[in-house]
């Protein structure tokens, strides 16, 4: 694998250098450093793809980028998108053993299992009367944009492995996450910002831990790693110049390093040095373009209010706005995490908290993208690593345990048919029974919308042609495509 990795690095380096026009050494650098173009002008969306593999996309993509709104902790499907009147009728009764026998179970191990009816009401929204719960009134307003999938299944019942599975298609650590796969395959549309960005929000209840493995690059080259943005301090680790060192000094320092490296390269002819010069160039660009991205002063009051964004707050609302800004500037995969959805108890209270923080900003993001003509080319996905049991759990007030045999997600934007519901669970909301969608199918569909045939997108690792969708069969969900 390692040789392979090195070749990949070599290959990508070549395409990177030739396609981005950097690495040309002094000439390119001096034009950059002389500030011919302002930072703002540079960060406007660029059309050309930078990096990426030759031969990709395999066919014309419907979506150019992905915004994944990950609701970490496992939001309940039974109080969001999957209304079960039968479960309401059976509230408090023993849960039929025919469903649960021999099935994996998390915190309810060894406990008596009883039905927990829906803890809220549902309404019908949009032209097709999509059923959405009262926790999500704003999502109701975009019912015609979203395709609700009610028949998700996953394979892991604990948070950490379930996230790893959702993000990498396997529970074995050290595999590339979907954002890495996609930026590796397609490159990015920006060279000044990372192609794969991770934003986690503050606020809400006790948050799920999230490992950096979830945006790891695995055996793909390191530059495809998700870059985690911070809401406080440096937006990206080590981005700011050290105290007492001004921008001009930093620039001069980098120029000197590059000059010395180039001079040395005349003696030792090492191609690695050219790559290094390019990396320093990019680092310098990022030192300007990331703060520019994070600076919301250019956004109208109206836009800020639409999202409920407050600069520097690190809220989900602010991150949604940043997601749009990243999308505009050409990032390929924008991964938002909101981490408060693990409602073993007091579900109503915590749903109010979580939905209060996320519902409106999600609506705002979809609307804003639409207004700007970007929704058609942006795939937006909403969902968590699993759903919650139709059985009662009572840590505090009524709640629900982890559940993997049936749960809901939604997709919207580039290439997705809005206003429809796909698949169904049984009458108790336990098993997905109609048009079952595995996490792998979700991956296959996402890749398909980006113009990638998931079967043909593989990298050899430990002798195996490794894919995001793994070795098991997986299918593009054709019915939900435009």
């Amino acid at each position: 694998m390692n040789h392979w990795n090195q070749i990949q690095i070599g290959l990508n380096r070549r395409t990177f250098l030739s396609q981005s026009g950097v690495g040309l050494g002094a000439a390119a650098l001096s034009s950059l450093l002389s500030g011919e173009k302002t930072a703002t002008a540079q960060s406007k969306r660029q059309q050309a793809s930078i990096g990426g593999l030759p031969g990709l996309p395999h066919f014309a993509p419907k979506a150019k980028r992905v915004i994944f709104l990950c609701m970490a902790g496992g939001p309940t499907h039974l109080e969001t998108f999957d209304y079960k009147p039968k479960l309401a009728q059976m509230d408090g009764k023993p849960f039929p053993e025919s469903y649960t026998k021999g099935q994996p179970i998390a915190q309810l191990q060894g406990k008596a299992l009883k039905c927990q009816g829906p803890l809220t009401k549902f309404r019908k929204y949009g032209q097709n009367g999509q059923e959405i719960s009262d926790f999500l009134p704003w999502t109701g307003k975009i019912a015609d944009e979203i395709c609700i999938i009610r028949s998700m299944v996953t394979e892991q019942i604990n948070h950490d492995p379930a996230h790893t599975f959702l993000n990498t298609g396997t529970i074995i650590s050290g595999r590339p996450s979907m954002g890495s796969w996609i930026t590796y395959g397609l490159g990015s549309e920006t060279e000044e910002l990372p192609g794969f960005v991770v934003l986690t929000s503050v606020g809400g209840r006790n948050p799920q831990p999230i490992a950096s493995r979830q945006w790891g690059t695995g055996f793909l080259p390191s530059r495809y790693q998700g870059v985690q943005f911070n809401s406080t301090g440096d937006p990206v680790n080590y981005l700011a110049n050290p105290a007492g060192i001004g921008a001009q000094q930093q620039k001069e320092l980098i120029e000197t390093v590059q000059k010395l490296d180039q001079f040395r390269n005349q003696r030792v002819a090492n191609p690695e040095i050219e790559t290094r010069i390019a990396a320093y160039e990019m680092a310098f660009k990022m030192q300007t373009s990331v703060p520019e991205l994070m600076d919301l002063s250019g956004e109208s009051k109206q836009t800020l209010e639409l999202y409920g964004a407050e600069p520097g707050s690190g809220t989900y609302a602010t991150n949604c706005l940043l997601a749009r800004r990243l999308a505009e500037r050409g990032s390929r995969f924008i991964h938002l995490y909101h981490r408060g959805w693990d409602h073993h108890g007091d579900l109503v209270r915590y749903m109010n908290t979580c939905c209060g923080l996320t519902d409106k900003p999600t609506w705002a993001l979809i609307n804003d993208l639409k207004q700007r003509g970007m929704l058609d080319e942006t795939l937006v996905i909403w969902g968590g690593e699993f759903g919650r049991t139709p059985m009662f759990q009572g840590k505090g007030g009524a709640g629900r345990d982890h559940h993997i045999k049936g749960f809901s997600m939604w997709m919207a934007g580039g290439g997705i048919k809005g206003g429809i519901t796909h698949g169904a669970t049984d009458e108790l909301g336990y098993n997905s029974v109609e048009n079952i969608v595995n996490v792998r199918d979700l991956h296959a569909t996402m890749l398909h919308l980006l113009g990638i045939n998931h079967q043909r997108f593989s990298v050899e690792f430990q002798g195996l042609d490794t894919r995001l969708t793994g070795v098991e069969e997986s299918h593009v969900i054709k019915n939900i495509l435009t």
Binding site: G174, E252, A269
Partner: protein, 797 residues
Amino acid sequence: MSQVMIRHFGIGLVVFLLLPNQADAEENKVSFNRDIRPILSRNCFQCHGPDSTHREADLRLDLEESVKRTSGDELIIRPGQPDQSLLFDRVTSKDPDLVMPPGDSGKSLKPSEIQLIKQWIEQGAPWSKHWAYLKPKSTSLPKVKNQNWPLNWIDHFILARLEQQKLQPAEDADKITLIRRLSFDLTGLPPTPEEVNQFVKDQSRQAYEQLVDRLLASPHYGERMAMYWLDLVRFADTVGYHGDQDHHISPYRDYVIRAFNENLPFDQFTREQLAGDLLPNSTLQQKIATGYNRVLQTSHEGGVQRKEYLAIYAADRIRNFSGVWMGATMGCCQCHDHKYDPYTIKDFYSLVSFFADIDEDQHLRRGSDRIPTVRAPEIFLYKDSEKKQISEIESNMKTTELALKSATAEKDLKQLKQELDKLKKNRAAIDRGATKTMITVSIKPRDIRILPRGNWLDESGPLVQPAIPEFLGSLKNDQSRLSRLDLANWLSDKNGYGLLTARVFANRFWYLFFGRGIAPVLDDFGGQGGPPHYPELLDQLALKFYADQWDVKQMVKFIVMSRAYRQSSLESAAQRKRDPFNQMLNRQARFRLPAEMIRDNALAISGLLVTDIGGPSVKPYQPAGYYRHLNFPKRKYVSHTDERQWRRGLYVHWQRQFLHPMLKAFDAPSREECTAQRPQSNTPIAAMTLLNDPTFIEAARKFAEDVLQHGGRSDTEKIRYAFSKATSRAPEKIESDALMNLLNSNRRVYQSKPKDAHAITNSGLAKTKQNLDAVEIASWTEVTRALLNLNEVVTRN
């Protein structure tokens, strides 16, 4: 070639990698293992290989008897007659329904590969077992024309091939490069200017060997070797899953350092880690060594299902065990027979069975969200002072207990009880503060079944007993059940896996000192891993390692004493084009230093480095809030405010889920899985790290102070001093001019902004020397920062 690479980037490239020497092959003779097996493995074995559940047409192409049998009226392969061989017929078929591999497999053969198959059949289709499963063969020393070049027999193998190819070995590297190379390779640290001077001046014949001996005897040698070992065994300070809480394991790291420093024979090193607890009268160090079995990723999440996690841990162990010692990718067999190699799902669970006696139930029954988490069984490693306190407390407790028995008065009883409670508390406090480490304790082995498709809920599979993979023979002892110790012994037994283990590690030692293995994939000696470029040399090294009774230092010394090792790493465009991965070995390698060494190097140059060996892990500066995604419990990273700030990189607290961002930026692995070879990236994030991480700013500042104090009088002298301290060589004029410009430009800035200068002198823990001028320190800090960022400074040449 580039066209092919683009069309089949997934496949073509790898083949390109495996077969680059074909054009150079001796006398046009096709070698089955080098040329043919990789083609078959890559393109055919998935459907016609070892995995019986997915085999098509009941045909195996991985076995000679199967390949040379008839299929209907036709022979799969008729030696000498490609035209009468069904295999050749099918791979050359123009009929899309017949051609192999089939169109929908995404695989296809290149014309050059088809040509190779043709030649091979014409040459009689000679077959041989996969190279990695054959015991190393002893070969006679290859003859060379240039008798002056070789220094030991490594060089004979290399020169003989080079001469055959009409190639020259590279010149010897200059002495400065050599001492830098050896210092980094053997200790992970740069040479001091004095060491460089001394070595350059020393014209004696023994100078080089003396240098090697000095470095091998350095306690930093063990640290350097441990860096690699800890990647293999995925050593980390935290549990890895979910809450990623701390666990106790640093004494195991120190055991590894010590083992390399004391040159513990590798077979014993293996035994102690896998089964130190089962050795008769096992010592404390041997018990600590068994931390190996415990350092896997574990979960302490509420609601983990015991059976599921036992299955996850079992698979983790076998992936690691087989990757580390066998160079095998047995992870595949958790769910099914291996697609390319002869390992079966039964082999996998039989290996699991060896580890079924490890007590790992305790934490599953007592999950804990606290830090450190519950990871019993552990042992306490009391300091002498603690031992003394304990014996005092315990004797006091005895006295008090006795008094309690005889006391009758209410008041006395109450007082004595209070006293006893206090003693108990003190005793417990010692345990809380004492160093502990996870160890292996053997309990009654649990039953191990084959889990069909790896599904832990499926209990229909048969029970299995400990056994080695079937195709490698069988193993027995005089008890009823094989133990971990038997397995460890088998790994070093000449009649077991011993010589194959020796080959796996000979290759990895080679990698440490040449940047690449002789066999290219260090953790996959299977069919997909690619054959060695110098198979005879690799075999010879393996035999030597075994014959030397697993003497690691001797092995390392033998490699670095070779002429091949001493070659220059300069590479011409022509060399790069002809042999991009240097498989011919007519030059040395140059590569960016590993993450820990980048840190160590900067700290060493600056004079900040604290060279203590071992101890609990340390916490250097880290961006605020970097652990904000961790929970159960939430935690704040508090960096150390004493000397621990400047310890070597290998002691940095290894948080699996959030590895220190500096280490991560330079490709250190999270240590969730076995890493036999790190990637080497060159990213903007890494550039920003080296530019702006406070550790490097502090190092640059202390370096600047050193320059001001010891660098001479004039700026020119100082630049010369600084430059040579960082690179071990004198600057050329262009170089010193560039630095002089940087210096003066910064002087102008800081003279007008003295506050900024003070911001620099006031940053970091290490105090600035009082008698130095802040503007001067700040200006020189920019110069030293530039030096620490030079490619040359972070590159091993």
